[in-house]
Amino acid sequence: MAEIRYTKDHEWVRLEEDGTATVGITDHAQEALGDIVFVELPATDRTVVEGESVAVVESVKAASDIYAPLAGKVVEINDLLTEDPSLVNRDPEDEAWFFRMELDDADAFESLMDEDAYKQFLETL
């Protein structure tokens, strides 16, 4: 089973068997954002550094950045979100993934929070 890690920006990162990483936002994030009406995704082949703003979600009230959790290159985006942004509210941690990336440094994945650490982090908020 693929391993999932989390960031303090409330993104999840799933390491796939082919070594790419799938990125989305957590249920906590979609809940905090409220009704999402628009998602802007990065261009495929875009090279990103860790922490760089790569996507934007617009809720009814506000725009929020989605950051690259790790350095690498965007290799695929989820076009479903462009057609149906509310999918992020309905299924944030599975169908509503944002993009897949090739990681510059696969070991960096280990530096992200595991599920227990993320749950602990949520409790400090």
Partner: protein, 387 residues
């Protein structure tokens, strides 16, 4: 996930609470600071559901943070009170009959707007509803100019509810049957559960509905009775903002401010004939020189409705350009959001008057990319007032 729009400024002082604070928490309201108050931005249903529910059924809003002010001339005459208030607003208050309400603006010496408000006439006094942010400044302004001849009181022990939507009449009539006979902008005193309430048939959503002023001590029990009526849901400030924007209604502090004149704001309809040059009581209000001159000659810029292409909302502050000159701004957005009824982004803003014609295509910028924007008539969603 940093939110970088529409977050209200942090208030250094402790936040005030309305008499419905405990009820908001019980209903799962997400509380945010707004104009010095802790207010629900949404309930668990979410802004989109709350918005569409008001358009299709009925919503109850707590707007107790707004200022309710009574204005009474020491002579006891409504006419004298109306004449006094007309020195501060360009609306015809003298012609306002007891039992009727009208939209008005407080103007500044250089023709700007220091707040917008509702003015209702009763038998012997005026009743004002002003915005939460400027309410203490409004009170000081009234005291300064009218205090010598009028008794002016901020009704701090009263709450204000708004009941809006096609189901509002049935819901409120269940508690006070006489409200069913009221028409848009009627105002009257009504007894609900033995409490002295003010009811106006008006609101801030473009829907039929009521605003109900009532004693703070009775606010929670009457709010619960209204929420118990079929189809009534609590609605937060988030949906209030998207509803008013679809209805083309201005938000003070965003679309109107002291740097904006009534003519620039396309609010000429709030200046009746009697208050214009040649009118019976023209020229007698603060800032009249600039405002009445602009009424005759027009202003250099004008508030317009805007429809951005695509689905991404344009937010306040976004610049507007001519399509062939993306270097020189010709205006900017003052309010913008996603319109749940239209399922499309809507906005309003100011543009050079020559570009204010509906159908004019402009360009804005969203995260560094151009977005086409069409000047559009407002309201975006037709109102359903009971006239």
């Amino acid at each position: 996930m940093d939110q970088h729009a529409a977050t209200p400024p942090v208030t250094p002082e402790p936040l005030s609470r309305t008499p419905l604070h405990a009820l908001h928490l019980e209903l799962g309201g997400r509380m945010v600071p707004f104009a010095g108050y802790e207010m629900p931005v949404q309930y668990p249903a979410g802004i989109m559901t709350e918005h569409t529910h008001v358009r299709s059924a009925c919503g109850l809003f707590d707007v107790s943070h707004m200022g309710q002010i009574s204005l009474r001339h020491r002579s006891g005459s409504l006419h004298d009170a109306a004449l006094a208030l007309e020195r501060l607003v360009p609306a015809d208050i003298v012609a306002l009959k007891p039992g009727r309400q009208r939209y008005a603006l407080f103007t500044t010496p250089d023709g700007g707007i220091s707040d917008d408000l509702m003015v209702a006439a009763e038998a012997d006094q005026l009743f004002l509803v002003v915005n939460a942010g400027p309410k203490l400044a409004d009170l000081a302004h009234l005291q300064q100019h009218l205090g010598a001849e009028c008794e002016i009181a901020l009704l701090a022990d009263r709450a204000l509810l708004a009941l809006q939507g096609p189901g509002a009449e049935a819901a409120l009539a269940a508690l006070a049957p006489e409200v069913a006979a009221m028409r848009f902008m009627d105002f009257r005193r009504v007894s609900i559960d033995g409490q002295d309430c003010t009811v106006s048939r008006s609101g801030y959503t473009g829907e039929d509905g009521f605003e109900i002023g009532l004693p703070s001590a009775a606010a929670e029990s009457i709010a619960r009775r209204l929420l118990a009526q079929p189809g009534v849901l609590p609605i937060g400030l988030g949906a209030r903002d998207s509803l008013r924007l679809e209805a083309g209604l201005c938000l003070y502090g965003s679309d109107l401010d002291t740097g904006t004149s009534p003519v620039e704001a396309a609010l000429e309809w709030a200046i009746q004939k009697s208050r214009r040059f040649g009118g019976a009581r023209g020229d007698g209000f603060i800032g009249a020189q600039r405002i009445l001159t602009e009424l005759e000659n027009g202003a250099a810029r004008r508030r317009v409705g805007l429809r951005p292409d695509g689905r991404a909302p344009l937010r306040a502050g976004a610049p507007l350009f001519l399509p062939d000159d993306p270097a020189t701004p010709v205006g900017h957005v003052t309010s913008g959001a996603f319109g749940p009824t239209l399922q499309a982004p809507v906005a309003m803003g100011y543009v050079e008057t020559a570009l204010a014609q509906p159908g004019t295509v402009l360009l804005s910028e969203l995260r560094g990319r151009p977005v086409s924007v069409t000047v559009s008539p407002t309201p975006f969603v037709p109102p359903t007032y009971k006239r």
